[in-house]
């Protein structure tokens, strides 16, 4: 394979694009002479390290809200004309780049069907180009997902245009075919690839602990992912700080999308608690996570993969709405004994600190051992090579 084109579906956050880039980075290592062009509208793509032989086309950003549906995030232009602009740019990219494989994230026809024209063009003019869909382990509750998929005729689109559907998860955790009732023709194209093992951090556990001035003190890493809706978790955590065992240090990575008033409140908390540090954003999450003893986090796909890769003890407080993906993931994985989970509705400083205290005590003596299939990357490379 020489030319891979990737469509990454993003409205906010880093999750989708980070997952896609880690897949691409691995494919670049695997296929000699491969060039990857990523089409993305993530407002955060600049914050990620871009490997050699990969470049990206960033489109004008969109936003999604329950009330209004898709809107134009920054540009201040109308949604329809902006989708037209994006559609045209995607089509030009395909026509000039002539990919052998077009890998599409999550939405078979893209946002607001912006891929439709391009897929039809590929069908008629580039018949050798293979079209592959990439799905996260869990999209949403079967109820909501089915509704959207049926309404948009996604199963039909998969049948007509797609060669392969890759799921970066396992049927053990969530069997997408059964849960979302894939019709036979679409189900035949599905391959479960396992979860994505994350690359080691840039710095070692020792180096980071030295930088932080930690000796043998236990470190708790608290991360609400991108941070846009994670303040409640941080607030609850900070409210319980005083009742944590002595010597425990806490590093909060609040996330680049933490709203401003909350960031200000975190700055106030730092002054009150000498055992607390706050970082807005890091490019080395794996490094910090490795340096920690217990992780308190929300249940986003990437965070969970980081925890599973490092085999860290963790307490997951998932997002439960508007999308139930995190809640389902947390519940299923906790049932498989991969970490502990607390429902956000039950969350209180007392409960969080008491569970955390148990985990801290256990982390010193019993490392976490349960493991999941983390072989997504080599499996994806193999499946794409077989096309």
């Amino acid at each position: 394979m020489k030319r891979l084109l990737v469509y990454s579906h993003d409205t906010y956050g880093l999750g989708n694009i980070r997952r896609m880039l880690s897949i691409c980075t691995d494919l670049i290592k695997h296929f000699k002479g491969l060039s990857v062009l990523v089409i993305s509208s993530s407002p955060m793509i600049h914050a990620l390290r871009i490997p050699n032989r990969l470049d990206y086309l960033k489109l004008p950003c969109l936003n999604r809200s329950e009330a209004e549906g898709y809107t134009v995030k920054f540009l201040g232009t109308g949604i329809d004309e902006t989708i037209k602009l994006r559609t045209q740019l995607i089509r030009s990219a395909v026509a000039s780049f002539q990919p052998e494989i077009f890998l599409i994230d999550k939405k078979p026809f893209g946002i607001k069907n912006e891929l439709k024209e391009t897929l039809e063009y590929i069908e008629s003019d580039l018949p050798a180009t293979k079209i592959v869909l990439l799905l996260r382990d869990i999209l949403d509750s079967p109820e909501s997902t089915l509704k959207v998929w049926r309404k948009n005729r996604y199963f039909k689109i998969i049948e007509r245009f797609y060669d392969l559907v890759l799921v970066v998860g396992t049927s053990e955790v969530f069997n997408i075919i059964e849960e979302y009732r894939f019709p036979k023709a679409a189900a035949k194209k599905v391959r479960f690839c396992g979860y994505i093992a994350r690359e080691r951090g840039r710095r070692t556990r020792r180096a980071i602990r030295r930088e932080l001035g930690l000796e043998d003190d236990p470190l708790v890493l608290v991360t609400p992912g991108g941070g846009q809706d994670g303040y409640k978790l941080l607030e609850t955590y900070i409210a319980g700080l005083a009742s944590l065992p002595e010597g425990v240090k806490s590093l909060v990575i609040s996330g680049p999308e933490m709203p401003e008033p909350y960031r200000a409140r975190l700055s106030e908390a730092i002054v009150r608690y000498p055992s607390l540090r706050v970082l807005d954003f890091t490019e080395d999450m794996m490094g910090y996570m490795d340096a920690s003893d217990v992780v308190v986090a929300m249940g986003g796909y990437n965070t969970v993969c980081e925890i599973l890769t490092l085999k860290k003890r963790a307490i997951i407080v998932p997002r439960v709405k508007p999308v139930e993906e995190q809640a389902i993931r947390a519940e299923r994985m906790a049932a498989l004994n991969l970490f502990r989970t607390l429902h956000p509705d039950r969350l209180s400083p007392q409960l969080l600190t008491s569970v955390l205290t148990e985990e801290l005590a256990a982390s010193a003596t019993a490392p976490w051992t349960t493991q999941l299939d983390m072989g997504a990357l080599p499996r994806i490379a193999k499946l794409l090579a077989s096309l």
Binding site: S35, A93, S96, P256
Partner: protein, 458 residues
């Protein structure tokens, strides 16, 4: 109103930062405008962008003279990449329907990739205003000749490299003069003609000169983390801070490496015995490689730390302006933006310009050094003892003249925006007068300054 920015991207981050500085000012003065930036340069943090502005980032153009540092990002034939970008720029132009197109530095675009779009505008949307933004000292045409390895005199570095002929020749060969005369409505020079006059240096025609407005250098007023907060988070050992920056980082490795080597000779390391104790350095150092420096090179710099040399190496920062603000002395290359930031903060600085492949930095640094605004060390004169001597001098307290006091106009963005306002005829009474007033605080969009380092637990 719709503004389309085309930003040149063959080298470093300078162009995009200049484009954004202008866009920020336009967002203030035209709050209803939508601005679309089209460029191959990665966008900076979106939280520090004006509202109603977004990016289309094109696949990167390959950088022939950098192949030894970077693999090209896409293994495409040059003409395939060119047609890909040409088409996307044209798509963007057709569907965004701009009222104003502001082109940064390359009137025909990189390798002429703007020409199809310019033809489209002329035929289909002739009412669109076309504006060129020019750097204080143009560099895209200033390809230095072999003989620039000889020493270049500080006072008049241009004489030694015959730059005038080079740029004039290139612009003539590429038909740039005709493009400026016949297609562009306005030319904005983001510099001071007293320092470098593009009209006489490039022999521009009277017709072009009449379209040109010298706006001044683009002064910065970005918000910063408070100086003391930033210093605290760095766990400094002394009260004197030297910040060493390589700008975007594509070609700054040698300077940073030389700085650290010099420090290691002076301070010694764990494995050697030197006069000074590395635990008690005479000043603190922060070394900022810049986002474009390769991992291999970062690791080489990081290696000085494992030798026990006391300095902070930042992995990357979105807060360059905050670090410069916190510094007592800045050591930097001579890129346009670094220099504008240093001048805006009126920082003491030692500039080590690059001299290849272009001499623009050398000219800039030399002319500012003559005015006493910065110290310059020619890279060929860069020795450990010269550098240390300049650092020691630079850290001694001294009266400073501000750039404005020496007659430098630092209101580039404001003046550019006013010139555009006049061109569009939205406020004809608002005359261009080169006002020596401070650039306004930028309102109307959220700016965020992230903490990227944390103080150690005590």
């Amino acid at each position: 109103m719709r503004i389309f920015h085309y930003s040149h991207d063959t080298y470093g981050l300078g162009h995009i930062r200049r484009t954004l500085a202008i866009a920020e000012q336009l967002a203030l003065d035209f709050p209803q405008a939508s601005q679309l930036v089209v460029s191959g340069t990665p966008q900076p943090s979106c939280f520090n962008l004006p509202s109603r502005l977004d990016f289309i980032k094109l696949p990167d153009i390959d950088k022939p003279f950098q192949k030894k540092f970077h693999a090209p990002s896409l293994l495409l034939q040059a003409d395939a990449l060119k047609s890909l970008r040409e088409n996307m720029i044209l798509d963007a132009m057709r569907f965004f329907k701009p009222d104003l197109v502001l082109v940064d530095k390359a009137p025909a675009g990189v390798r002429g990739e703007l020409l199809p779009s310019l033809r489209y505008l002329q035929n289909e949307r002739p009412e669109t205003k076309l504006v060129l933004g020019m750097c204080d000292i143009e560099d895209n045409a200033m390809i230095a000749r072999e003989n620039d390895r000889t020493e270049i005199p500080l006072e008049n570095p241009v004489d030694a490299v015959n730059v005038k002929d080079t740029i004039r020749g290139q612009w003539r060969d590429q038909g740039i003069h005709a493009l400026l005369e016949n297609h562009y409505n306005l030319i904005l020079h983001y510099g001071n003609r007293e320092i470098y006059d593009p009209v006489s240096e490039y022999r521009l025609s009277g017709k072009i000169e009449r379209k040109m407005i010298s706006c001044g250098h683009i002064g910065r007023s970005s918000p910063t983390l408070p100086k003391e907060q930033l210093r605290r988070s760095l766990n400094l050992k002394t009260d004197r801070l030297v910040v060493v920056t390589a700008g975007g980082g594509e070609d700054g490795f040698e300077l940073l490496n030389f700085y650290l080597k010099t420090l290691s000779h002076t301070l010694g390391t764990k494995s050697s015995t030197r006069s000074q104790d590395p635990n008690n350095p005479p000043f603190d150092s922060i070394v900022i490689p810049g986002p474009l420096m390769s991992m291999t090179k970062r690791r080489q710099l990081q290696a000085y730390r494992s030798m026990g040399l006391p300095f902070t190496l930042l992995d990357s920062t979105n807060n360059m302006f905050s670090y410069l603000n916190a510094a007592d002395l800045v050591i930097s290359k001579g890129g346009y933006n670094s220099i504008c930031e240093i001048l805006s903060l009126n920082k003491r600085a030692i500039i080590v310009p690059h001299t290849k492949p272009r001499v623009e930095q050398l000219i800039r640094a030399g002319r500012l050094a003559v005015r006493g605004l910065v110290e310059m060390i020619h890279p060929q004169k860069l020795t450990a003892s010269t550098l240390l001597k300049k650092i020691q001098e630079g850290l001694e307290p001294r009266e400073r003249v501000s750039p404005e006091e020496t007659g430098l106009n630092m209101n580039g963005a404001l003046n550019a925006s006013q010139a555009i306002e006049r061109l569009l005829g939205t406020n004809a009474a608002f005359g261009f007068k080169n006002p020596k007033r401070p650039f306004p605080a930028r309102k109307g969009f959220t700016q965020r300054v992230y903490a990227e380092t944390v103080p150690a637990f005590s």
